[in-house]
Symmetry: C3
Subunit: 674 residues, 3 copies
């Protein structure tokens, strides 16, 4: 066994009370940048926030040059004044650390802190995130400014928590990062022989005889090397954040929560988000629609993914007040759609909705982005809709406090497998997020929010059905966990490409699903990238199909290919086997929606999973449970009104009174309590 | 107020007589490179030029290594011989300075003169324009060679003028350019506080505490910084050219004109062409069709733009004799199309048509380009058509001498606004040249050539209608000028996105149109990038629509949106208000051709602008006036013959005699005098 | 005349007996990498190879780090053991030199051996071919390892030959390569005056006054310079290979053959493959289908091209066992298609089919590539089909030994012309390979394999028809050869763009076809890139059309344009003239398939070329002759069975017995002996 990754353990957290504040009610607010405006304008800004129902404001995260205009000369007074003015207006504060935007003096004096990108180019001042996450000096400078901030704000009662940096993205390839890489490899592998064996460096004469020979750039394509680099990047990011977390905790103790806003790319996989979240009190992300309009399945799955990072409710730390500035077409959402988006987020486990941003800076990269007030400080047309959300939340907050989505089904997600497939697509149209969504859509239609959780670590015993659409890498430990789940009575469905690789992204010497082949009583004889659609049952398979073969007498063939490419004609496409008290099923192809729906419906029925009541097309039904309450949230994502019949009389939390049926207009929302 | 840009003033010019020679007749000729051929071949080249009616030849502009084969060793004798041989054939000469192509010895000895592009790459020898416009040494070397040329040619009577370099394009990012940038910033802003305020550097911690911290590359995206960089580049180019102009004037005095050929990208905006033209006697450009065939609206607008750079007639310094070598499909124009192109150019104010090139070099980057004679020195199939143009010009030159297009309507153009919109498109399909052409097309159909002039400086009083399709930046000075124009009786039409920004590309704190909102009596509540077409009046709006609101009681709503995206449904799309003796109209959307035509037709009718007579589709009617003469040029751009009825008897300048009606074949041309 | 290119002469070869072994039978096998697997697994690998009928195995070509784990420490024992184990199983061995993959210690210690690509980027360890072909040190290190290998294996009786490196691709732009470039230029041109004249450096002031000024990068676009760079690259590659060939020959003498696998891009033109092949015993290449399925015309032409490199049979050194890993869609071939592909290759002159690869490495860049056994060492579904090929070859090998395709028609190919056209396409859709295939398709339908041979050197006298579809450069020597061919009774057909350039890629001063214009009795007046299809005879011309004009009284117009772009209307498109005992024809346009078929059919009929018998659509008929035998190979490339009637009774080599007709199933193959 290899040495465990460094820093994998959970670290000190906020006290339960401080952490709980994030979930004790629904939060509404925006990002606000007082440093961009004359202090005389602050009061009116905060008054207008309060007037639309905000209860929180996010400040500070890009203001390093304002807080430390010259090295070691700190000015936190303005920050304290802004915080206290927010308190005067009844607004809580989340403080962002400014480490995404080092000041110009810092970059000028310490060019060794600059990021070197994968092409070898050194970044410069003027944008964001030009620093190296691996720079010791940058970490020290970060610790110093963050410590000063914590000292200034630790006793401000309306400061409820901290956000570290904002939207972590790129790693660095500078010499210091290279040294860290070599150290990482030594710790992980212990000897070059083990590294050479794990990566099969005999291939193409890649054998390393000195640690410093191992490449460190983005050109390389040995899948073993590539996977290890991802693990290293994750660890570097984690260390970068931990440094600041330690600094804050050293000052504020456990009285304020700490989160990271992981940005708008929920499915991004530049680093392992499960690892990154271990050190946080809860997860945050950005929900941006960009061009066009909300895609409910995709957005719902993103929320469920984020909720799964820590298996608890989360914050939407940024979302668009109407439109963004960076999309191909930065159109505005429809009237009501911003509200529908907020309530869908809550239905999937969001406890906070923060808009980016309150008011546009007069210059800088994002002046054209949507905001709630204009550069004139006056409400824009979106303001009344945000005010409506404020009124909604005031009504629903108490009912929803302490509740969260509860799912009888889990979808397994695994960053190593994500990387492994993406490194070697084999078919340009193999989009594993779409593969996951193929399973997610019928599950969400049946269940509302669905847990999307970490394949390697999430407890599975409580789930009636576990679906692993893309488990390309199945480690021995994972195989043990999954076997125990099945034998204990669960139903595990594996998608195509499962179990092809081991933990080093090395081909298994057993055919797929590798360490689960015996449990399955069957294996994959050959995988096929498809250049044409083929028949699968009474539907179609596209892009990918595997030739399965049952080996055990009790392995059932659930689906066969029809007319195909010759090799697959009539061959098994889905096989399944009872094992212990449970069942394991292997789906070898990407099948069409109808075939998938039958597959999932059957699995749900067999597992005894049912839903309270049916809703029309376009209406999303979500449920949060907790504190003995079950809260139902309905959102009509369509452009037409829809009638919904309830299974009984329910309290209409937003509209008031009891209802047995209701009509949701386009973008309409209802919150119901049983 | 900030300090004015350096070198903004007009500089010494040719004497009136020397400058007037450019416009005293129609000029026809080509670019000729005697240095590429044995001297024995020169006479036949010049004889064939004269035989097709040429009266001018352009020489010298890439021959530095021939004129100065080693540092300080000048050989101008061949140039003088070529010039005198041209004189013998009755051809005038325009001399190009060779500074676009430094010799290999220069680049080798002085690598500090090399251009560093925006990615940090240093250019090398072998192409064109590998020098840095900011290199003091390169300017000195340029001055030396140009001085030698001027001395050699100053007394040659057939030398009528000079062209500086050829087709200016890229700036440089070398260390010397960086130093110039810092100096520029200091002069423009005086203090970093003012710079920081203008660019809102509080955003993303961009605050500069030392001048040398300000970035100088092409990665940066702060719109304030980006705009300033464009102004700096303009000034660098202007200084680069002024250096040579001074050198020539010091030798030849005011006896020969000086121009620059700005190249084939009329709408290019790498630098401010108004600024660049201030130092010249007249403007020149390249008209290249490239793939396909002449697009009359686009070509006409390009000519009108170029005429507007100095508000006087111009030269087409290069155009294709049939085809080019660089287009995706370098097809040949139709028979007659080369002639139609020439006469359209004259109709829009060209006083010269020069072909590039006379004869292909046997090797080098452009051997496949169209030419008039082949590498065998014998006429190619295009030769007879060029000869026809020569005969035409011989007949029409006297009538057209001293005339120019006269337009009762102006379209305003502004490079800072061009940059501002392009920096932040917000909708990938927002093409501001297309937006301008939306207005231009109905105006050109109604008027022929239309003045396209500098928003910041062109006198407006004489125009009955002024259209500003893209005035994103409205400075206070511009607002004062436009207000005076309206109050004095003019009609100003503003297009979408007008008045969003100030001179630093900073959001106005008043809503659009910013400093003109009071005059308009209304404002833009919100702009919308459109992801779907919406109704506007009885037509459609696409890509962009703004929600307008009248504030003054006398502000009229001329057009409303119909069914739209919810926000815009029924809202005003065009508002207008009488102000003083005039009127201001704001058009908030990109509307379809029919809606635009009604808008423009109404504005023309209200302004009392009418046209002499109507012409069929595909026939372009252009008028030049001067010296008491009105010359009408008709070109049939279509593929079918067209009959044109004249309003009375007119002299057929090309065909001879008087006509009251005529039939134009495909690509047919007529020149008529009343 | 310029000095001849260095190293142009043929070099020492294998003895006739050693060279003949490559063609003495049909060879079947795979690439095998014992260094990637425990030695205990080798025997089973070799057993399974033998069991499917393999008789050869390729080893060694990427195992440098295994053979020389530290500098000067050689370990060849494993290689000898693997070779002897192969012998035990009756398998011959082809040894690959490992110089495509320098070990990490080498790159680390000698960074001066690294390749600098055309953008100036230095490559690093971890992929393939990161070395500089111009590095003296790398050549020395290569010679050392290759010498050690030769010493270890020279007396192993089952070693039949060597492969130098694998798939040569990129040259290097490092300082040492630059010095070699300057030396090359001095030798080629003797003086800068000659170089300047050849490249017309008077154009754009490119004149060189010092050898070191000449650019050496990939930015430059002077066509003369570009062509010379290609010649230099060819010479560098040739020298790189010759170094190893000399090392091997010094040890093994003439007892083993030497080849190079030129990779999968048969039509690639990074260097001149005729030059590269002069030093080899025979040519090898990779046949990879990639996405989709076999395209018989394209594949056949590729084989014919490769056969033409040395005008003898060749080896398919790599081909896909079902699928690849690098295509957009890496789909599997149909059942039977792998076999059909192998037999088409044999029909076009392949004497060996080697699969890449036997067994996937567990990690490394190509783990997903098709193979014959899996990482578990057990047969994959493709195995039985490969076994079928083994059985086929066992039956057919004796009949085919010593035979090769014989073609009465030659297509001329010329790398300088290839480069010249590609450097200056003039029309983005001008694809000269497609132009060649336009001629090839009707020729192949009529003849089976067609010789595609070197325009500059292949003997022509034996051909009844010679087609030069793309002879853009016609040197004086080539003109002499072609004139002699025509005058001697041959028929030469020239395609468009012929004879535009001389050997320096310089425009001819005679119009096309330049030095052949007098023979043709006509010339090209003007070439036209077409932006629209035009009429040509009763068909169409697209992309390119030239206006031809007969000058001699006996020049015939075979085809005229109809309605075209005005210039070409009614003008000659194809002209032809009897000259001496033969004929020369010039085709000025890219014509449609029907027009081309008539043109070719007429030429074949006039030349008296006929075929033995007709086959249905989709069935390819190929013939190999030798040793008094004529062997016919039929392959049905279609998806339906096809009946073929034979001209008489023939021996069914694979099926046994005599047949007069047969039915070929989809992907069916027959080998027939008369």
């Amino acid at each position: 066994m290899l040495a465990a990754p460094p820093a994998g353990a959970e670290v000190a957290k906020a006290t339960p009370a401080a952490a709980a504040v994030a979930h004790e009610r629904l939060w509404l607010g925006s990002a606000w940048y007082p440093e961009q405006w004359p202090e005389a304008a602050w009061d009116e800004d905060l008054r207008l926030m309060k007037a639309h129902g905000a209860n929180v404001v996010r400040i500070g995260e890009y203001a390093w040059s304002r807080m430390e205009p010259a090295e070691g000369q700190y000015d936190m007074d303005w920050l304290v004044r802004a915080t206290r003015l927010a308190a005067k207006h009844g607004l809580k504060v989340v403080v962002g650390t400014p480490t995404d935007t080092p000041p110009a003096w810092l970059t000028q004096k310490y060019p060794d802190t600059l990021q070197v990108d994968g092409t070898g180019k050194t970044l410069g001042h003027g944008g964001r995130r030009q620093f190296s996450i691996s720079s010791r000096r940058y970490r020290d400078l970060s610790r110093a400014i963050v410590t000063q901030m914590a000292r200034a704000l630790k006793d401000e009662p309306n400061v409820i928590g901290w956000q570290i940096g904002n939207e972590p993205t790129d790693e660095s390839y500078d010499p210091e990062a290279r040294a860290a890489w070599v150290a990482w490899l030594k710790q992980r592998y212990g000897s070059l022989d083990r590294l050479n064996a794990a990566w099969t460096t005999a291939y193409w004469s890649q054998t390393y005889t000195d640690w410093s020979q191992v490449p460190f750039n983005t050109d390389h394509a040995n899948p073993g090397w590539m996977l290890e680099l991802k693990r290293f990047i994750t660890a570097q990011w984690r260390g970068f954040h931990q440094n600041q977390i330690d600094a804050i905790r050293a000052v504020v103790g456990g009285n304020q929560f700490i989160t990271i806003n992981f940005g708008g790319l929920g499915w991004a996989n530049r680093f392992d988000r499960y690892e990154m979240n271990r050190d946080l009190d809860f997860a945050s992300w950005d929900e941006y629609v960009g061009s066009g309009h909300l895609k409910p399945w995709r957005a719902g799955a993103s929320h469920d993914l984020v909720r799964g990072w820590k298996r608890k409710n989360f914050w939407v730390m940024e979302t668009q007040p109407g439109f963004v500035n960076w999309a191909g077409v930065s159109n505005m959402l429809y009237p009501g759609e911003t509200r529908a988006l907020a309530w869908q987020a809550v239905g999937h486990g969001a406890d906070a909705i923060l808009y980016w941003q309150w008011r546009n800076a007069r210059n800088g990269q994002e002046t054209m982005h949507g905001s709630i007030v204009g550069p004139d400080g006056k409400p824009l047309p979106i303001y009344p809709e945000v005010q409506q959300i404020g009124r909604d939340m005031a009504k629903a907050s108490a009912a929803l406090a302490g509740t969260q989505p509860v799912s009888p089904v889990a979808i397994l997600q695994d960053y190593p497998s994500r990387w492994a497939i993406d490194f070697q697509l084999h078919h340009r149209d193999y989009d594993q997020i779409e593969v996951l969504l193929d399973y997610y859509r019928p599950l969400k239609d049946a269940l509302g929010a669905v847990d999307i959780v970490e394949a390697a670590a999430a407890p599975l015993a409580g789930y009636k059905l576990v679906v692993a659409p893309n488990l390309n890498i199945i480690t021995d430990a994972m195989a043990t966990r999954l076997t125990a789940y099945v034998r204990g009575g669960g139903h595990l469905i594996l998608g195509p490409r499962s179990g092809l690789k081991d933990e080093f992204n090395r081909l298994e010497t057993r055919r797929q699903p590798g360490p689960l082949a015996d449990l399955l009583g069957g294996q994959v004889e050959q995988f096929h990238a498809l250049d044409e659609a083929i028949e699968a049952g009474d539907g179609k398979a596209v892009v990918w199909a595997e030739q399965l073969s049952p080996a055990a007498p009790d392995t059932d063939v659930l689906l066969r290919y029809g007319k195909a490419n010759g090799w697959l004609d009539g061959k098994p496409a889905v096989i399944s086997r009872r094992a212990g008290k449970g069942r394991i099923t292997y789906v070898g192809a990407l099948v069409d929606d109808a075939v998938m729906k039958r597959l999932i419906d059957t699995a749900l029925r067999d597992a005894g999973v049912t839903r309270a009541f049916a809703v029309p097309a376009d209406v999303e039904l979500m449920t949060r449970e907790g504190g003995g309450r079950t809260i139902t949230i309905l959102v009509n994502h369509g452009r037409e009104a829809r009638d919904v019949a309830l299974p009984g009389s329910m309290t209409d939390v937003l509209g008031g009174g009891k209802v047995r049926k209701l009509t949701l207009p386009a973008e309409g929302v209802a919150v119901l309590q049983q």
